[in-house]
């Protein structure tokens, strides 16, 4: 039970990490010893109370059994999968009800109810049953992973490397210091020396009072001896202070530089890792969150390593050093000073806990406030059009007021706390006086020298700083740890595609493509591509057609191996896609996307993106072929015009042509073309069309086609609907099919075009 996944189940979820063994035995016994292939938990009973009902699937049976108080119900319901006729799903706010109806029976075989938490696992099971009803049998090797994966998925998406172990993260972070052992040793010893040196000046002061001033004023030390002694002590003090600041310099410099090293290493490692990750990672995370990990999170780590680690360890060192010195100097006064210390620390810690609640409230109100802002600023036209400025002002005003109230509370609490804490610290001073004065003013043998007393008072002043730092420790640590966690979370994400080291280098590709029974889904529940097979010969121009959501773009993504298929295989020139060297393959595949992305840089750099060493004359030739040369020459800076974010804005048609030029120069063997749906003016349309015609000549082209001209020219059209290939043939052939999907799409398009023409 101690594997990491089971631990996460234990920690976060109120359900077993795998199918209980007794359930498995009972089910397999009831299903004629067939092995359970899939299972899921239905966690609500008929009265909608939480419960544990297992739904299991074997090759020929479906069985449902309830576990109550760790005991199996006697009753187990088993149905032959062949008799299943219909699945009725009734989704609700937090409960989904599914009726599985048996053939020839009015009564449902079984009704299961479950919360959204089980939706993934049960959805997988229902998908298999649904496929079966559609005549497709899916078989699975028995495994707990599908169930575990589906249930954990939401948690993993929120926190990839689920690990609450803070110590492990600190160790891992400190591991990044390993290459810089020498610097760490230098910096830390500088810091330690500096801290300990700070303990010396009060000692010298005490010595001057006790050894020089008092004996001299009391007449026991002649001037001739007093001066050398005083000068020696002065020299000692000067040397200590210089030494202390040298050590401080060494520490600050070494650690600040060291922090930068670590932050740089982390940034490089993260950025390199980002490029290894599959496209799916980028679609599942927000761009902002990825950027902030590489940016501000690594900056916080610098802050922590450069200052946090040292400050914290030194504060403890200083407190311990101070206590030791005080107790050695005079144990009674020393105890007066050190005994209340833990009380102070506990107080500071408790205050931190209380403040946490207040900060949470303030944070919540603050996000209310910024939500109002981020709502209204982009929607300002709507606000104005409906004349709702007053309403919005009131809404913002209320939230602003709310937030400010929360801040007042916070200020109320902390402004109350710190003076009280300071009073406590001062009361230690008073206590020292209270205990010291009677001893100083005692008759007879004085057991406390004035020098010691003075040194004590000086040491007092040094107590406050480390206490303050330690008080902030949990905040400092939390900040750094959550940053470190986000960074490691990224670094620990495994790329979903595995590239073979010895992959086949097919250069040049002929460009033959074959899909064999390809199925694919972005997650376990929904399949986007359902058993698609076709062959494309080198040099063919294939048009992918279908209503939106039919899987055209997904098919294109599979072809360039942005994702791996979940079933079946794709072969390029007869070689299965995963066996090709990915780099060499992608170098020979080009994509022209609907909304082409241009990087920040000059037009020339953008055209040369795939072939950085291309000659300028080739760049111009490519631009000419793409009908881009003329408009580029009209720009004041020509090919040196900076485009992309914060650069010169090109129109959609212009960007399209630059991206076609980029593809022409790249000279791919296989070209994927996602035609723009948005209409551009006829002249631009004509120019783009001409450019595309030049681009597709002599290559295998798979075009997600919208333009009639492409559709007519295509060697073949593949018509997709709901992830299946339902029609194929030439434009003319497909129009022949009565009630064909393509024909309907084509008719609608033609009507639309007529409307546009009017």
């Amino acid at each position: 039970m101690s594997d990491p996944v089971s631990q996460i189940f234990d920690r976060y979820l109120d359900q077993p990490p795998t199918l209980p063994e007794q359930v498995r035995r009972r089910v397999e016994q009831a299903c004629q010893d067939e092995i359970i292939q899939l299972y899921a938990l239905a966690d609500l009973d008929a009265s909608l109370r939480l419960c544990q009902i297992w739904v299991t699937l074997t090759a020929n049976h479906l069985a449902v059994i309830r576990v109550a108080d760790r005991h199996l119900d006697e009753h187990i319901r088993v149905i032959s999968r062949k008799r299943l006729e219909k699945i009725i799903e009734q989704p609700g706010l937090s409960c989904t009800v599914v009726h599985l109806l048996e053939r020839d029976e009015e009564h449902p075989f079984v009704t299961i109810r479950y919360t959204h938490r089980q939706r993934g696992a049960i959805g997988h099971l229902l998908f298999v049953l649904d496929q079966q009803l559609n005549g497709r049998t899916l078989e699975f090797a028995p495994s707990d992973e599908r169930y575990r994966e589906a249930v954990l998925r939401p948690i993993r998406e929120a926190q990839a490397s689920v690990s609450g172990n803070r110590l492990a993260i600190v160790w891992r972070l400190l591991g990044y210091l390993r290459p810089y052992r020498v610097q760490v040793a230098l910096g830390m010893s500088g810091a330690a020396v500096m801290t300990l040196a700070r303990l010396l000046p009060p000692f010298f002061t005490g010595q001057v009072v006790d050894q020089v001033i008092q004996p001299f004023q009391g007449g026991t030390l002649p001037l001739t001896q007093a001066w050398p002694l005083a000068l020696t002590l002065l020299g000692g003090l000067t040397a200590t202070l210089i030494f202390q600041e040298c050590a401080a310099w060494m520490r600050l410099r070494t650690m600040a530089v060291l922090g930068e090293h670590v932050a740089r290493d982390l940034r490089t490692q993260m950025y390199d890792h980002l490029h290894k990750l599959s496209v799916s990672y980028f679609s599942s995370k927000q761009t902002g969150s990825i950027i902030s990990r590489v940016g501000s999170d690594s900056d916080r780590i610098w802050d922590f390593i450069a200052f946090g680690v040292v400050e914290l360890s030194l504060s403890f060192l200083l407190l311990i050093g101070l206590s030791a010195v005080l107790i050695v100097l005079d144990w009674r006064l020393g105890l007066v000073m050190t005994v209340p210390l833990p009380i102070l620390l506990v107080l500071i810690y408790r205050n931190g806990r209380i403040m946490h609640g207040f900060f949470l409230r303030a944070w919540r109100k603050w996000s209310n406030l910024t939500d109002a802002l981020s709502d209204v600023v982009p929607g300002i036209r709507v606000v104005k059009a409906f004349d709702q400025a007053e309403h919005e002002k009131r809404r913002f005003g209320d939230r602003n007021e709310d937030f400010t109230d929360e801040c007042f509370r916070i200020h109320h609490v902390w402004t109350g706390f710190w003076p009280i804490l300071m009073l406590l610290v001062h009361s230690m001073t008073i206590l020292t006086w209270v205990f010291a004065l009677p001893r100083l003013l005692a008759h007879g043998t004085v057991d406390l020298s004035i020098g010691t007393f003075v040194a004590f008072l000086l040491y007092m002043g040094m107590f406050f700083y480390p206490i303050e730092i330690i008080g902030q420790m949990s905040r400092l640590l939390n900040r750094a740890l959550s940053s470190a966690h986000r960074i490691f979370d990224l670094l620990d994400t495994e790329p979903q595609l595995t590239e073979r080291r010895d992959g086949a280098q097919l250069e040049p590709l002929r460009g033959a493509i074959e899909f064999r029974e390809v199925t694919f889904g972005y997650d376990a529940v929904g399949q986007i591509i359902k058993g698609v097979s076709f062959r494309i010969e080198p040099g063919e121009l294939i048009g992918l057609v279908g209503p939106s959501g039919s899987g055209k773009t997904t098919l294109a993504n599979l072809l360039v191996r942005f994702y791996d298929v979940t079933g079946g295989e794709i072969r390029i020139d007869g070689v299965p896609l995963p066996e090709l060297a990915l780099g060499a393959f992608r170098r020979q595949v080009g994509m022209v996307l609907q909304d082409p992305f241009l990087f920040h840089g000059t037009i020339m750099e953008n055209i040369r993106y795939g072939v950085p060493e291309a000659l300028l004359s080739d760049v111009i030739a490519a631009a000419r072929a793409a009908n881009a040369h003329d408009f580029i020459c009209r720009l004041a800076s020509g090919y040196d015009t900076v485009v992309g974010e914060r650069g010169h804005t090109l129109s959609g048609g212009e960007r399209q042509r630059v991206s076609i030029a980029r593809a022409i120069l790249h000279n791919p063997r296989i070209l994927i073309l996602d035609e723009a749906t948005s209409s551009v003016d006829t002249e631009t349309e004509h120019q783009i069309q001409e450019a595309l015609n030049r681009l597709i000549a002599g290559r295998t082209v798979v075009a997600i086609a919208h333009r009639l001209s492409t559709l007519k020219r295509a060697t073949r059209l593949l018509v997709l609907k709901e992830g299946r290939l339902i029609e194929q043939g030439t434009h003319a052939q497909l129009l022949e099919i009565p009630n064909g999907v393509y024909r309907r799409l084509h008719d609608m398009q033609t009507q639309l075009n007529e409307v546009h023409a009017i």
Binding site: L48, Q90, G92, L93, H107, H116, I155, R361
Partner: protein, 151 residues
């Protein structure tokens, strides 16, 4: 006025002159008007009937509707809070509900949503909803734990 009943399969059936069809009730305002403005959808998801107010139905239709609605608008009813714990990116809530004890996770910046009738709704990572009908009626220990998340 729509005539409803439920069949043995637990499905809600809408009767009309053309026969009975299974329908799915969808509350337009599940929080603010749970019993009114209910759209009846057929298996293809198209609207085949509309109920402005459950009160306008006859007794047996209303009972049948109520049974189905009880499932579709089911959310956990929180009766007490055991623990609220913050970790990296996640906040774990351990609560007592009418349905039994449950723990769930939210993101750190996912805040409970205030309802107009004074209750709050918390949505967990998988999308399950947890309602605290009246936060002021919770026991003092629970109130202290959720204080930071309430008004």
């Amino acid at each position: 006025m729509p005539q409803l009943n439920s069949n043995d399969a637990g499905q809600l059936l809408l009767h009309s002159q053309r026969g009975s069809i299974p329908v799915r009730p969808v509350a337009c305002f599940p929080w603010s008007e749970p019993n009114n403005y209910i759209s009846l959808r057929n298996e293809a998801g198209a609207e085949v009937g509309f109920i402005h107010s459950a009160a306008e139905l006859d007794h047996s239709s209303r009972a049948a509707l109520e049974i189905t609605l009880r499932q579709t608008r089911f959310v956990f009813q929180v009766t007490g809070i055991e623990q609220v714990e913050d970790e990296f990116e996640l906040r774990t809530w351990s609560v007592k509900t009418h349905q039994g004890p449950r723990s769930f996770q939210t993101k750190l910046d996912e805040w409970p949503r205030k309802l107009e009738n004074g209750g709050v709704i918390i949505r967990d990572l998988s999308g399950d909803l947890y309602q605290i009908k009246d936060p002021t009626a919770l026991d003092p220990a629970s109130q202290k734990l959720v204080w930071a998340f309430m008004e």
